[in-house]
């Protein structure tokens, strides 16, 4: 049987990679949104691994809700992204530095 630690390490590496993706990304706002989705995926991994190895369904229920929230958040994030593009004509992260509406 694959030990629990293997799943937790995979999810930790995925989380770290997404964080690195947010840090090194300087050009594209969409990559940031994608890295947020990957972070949520890593957390879901953790929940499901523990749910399996501790013989409870609570972890899977929580993943259910995380999926719901992640879908809602990505929809709204993309709507905001589109509005930003309409107004500023760019999605370069470094050029979105004014708070002026």
């Amino acid at each position: 049987m694959v030990p629990l630690s293997s799943y937790l390490i995979v999810s930790a590496i995925l989380f770290g990679l997404s964080m690195a993706g947010i840090i090194i990304n300087r050009k594209n706002l969409i990559v940031i949104l994608m890295c947020i989705e990957m972070m949520l995926l890593a957390v879901n991994f953790n929940f499901i691994a523990f749910s399996q190895y501790l013989h409870q369904t609570t972890g899977e229920i929580f993943v259910f809700f995380i999926l719901t929230v992640a879908a809602a958040e990505s929809a709204i994030g993309l709507a905001i992204l589109m509005l930003l593009y309409r107004n500023r004509r760019t999605i370069n992260v470094q050029e979105l530095d004014t708070l002026k509406g």
Binding site: A12, M19, A20, F64
Partner: protein, 194 residues
Amino acid sequence: MWLTHVVFYVFSALLLFSAVMVIVSRHPVRGVLFLVLTFVCSAVLWMLLQAEFLSLVLIFVYVGAVMTLFLFVVMMLNVEQIPKVEGFVRYLPFAILAVLVMVGLMTMAILPKHFAMAGQLQPIMHPESYSNVKSLGAVLYTEYLFPFEVASVLLLVAIIAAISLAFRGKRAKGQDVDHQVSVKKADRLKIVKM
């Protein structure tokens, strides 16, 4: 069983590879497609963990809806290909440091020295008659009914927010058939006496 190990290692390697390619790819469309591959690999790994309903829901909801939305938005925004990822090399040491610190910390927390329970936990291999949907439903609709309803309100709020943000109203150029039919001669023709 050795097949479980093989499947686990192959698909987690593919998962981490496609996660790296999401970050590193220059064209956003390729990044989104690699993210789709990431989700599909994690669905396979969730199947290994006997969370069958959730792995299929991942493919339905996440890949089928959210990633499709991402692709639509990426293609609509017409983002040009990044010729050179500037700032990549400058910030790479910080990124590597952050990744090493975070992953190292998390790995240290699950070493047998600190988390001795990990080696002794064994999953229950359910029989074929086990239905993951049934066991999830038994808990979701009884104990967690209130969060379930709140989640549906949350989705409604998300719909309203997304529509109110992105909807621009009726386009100016369109055919208003009622107006066209009710037009009179005086609206269209003006006779001028020369």
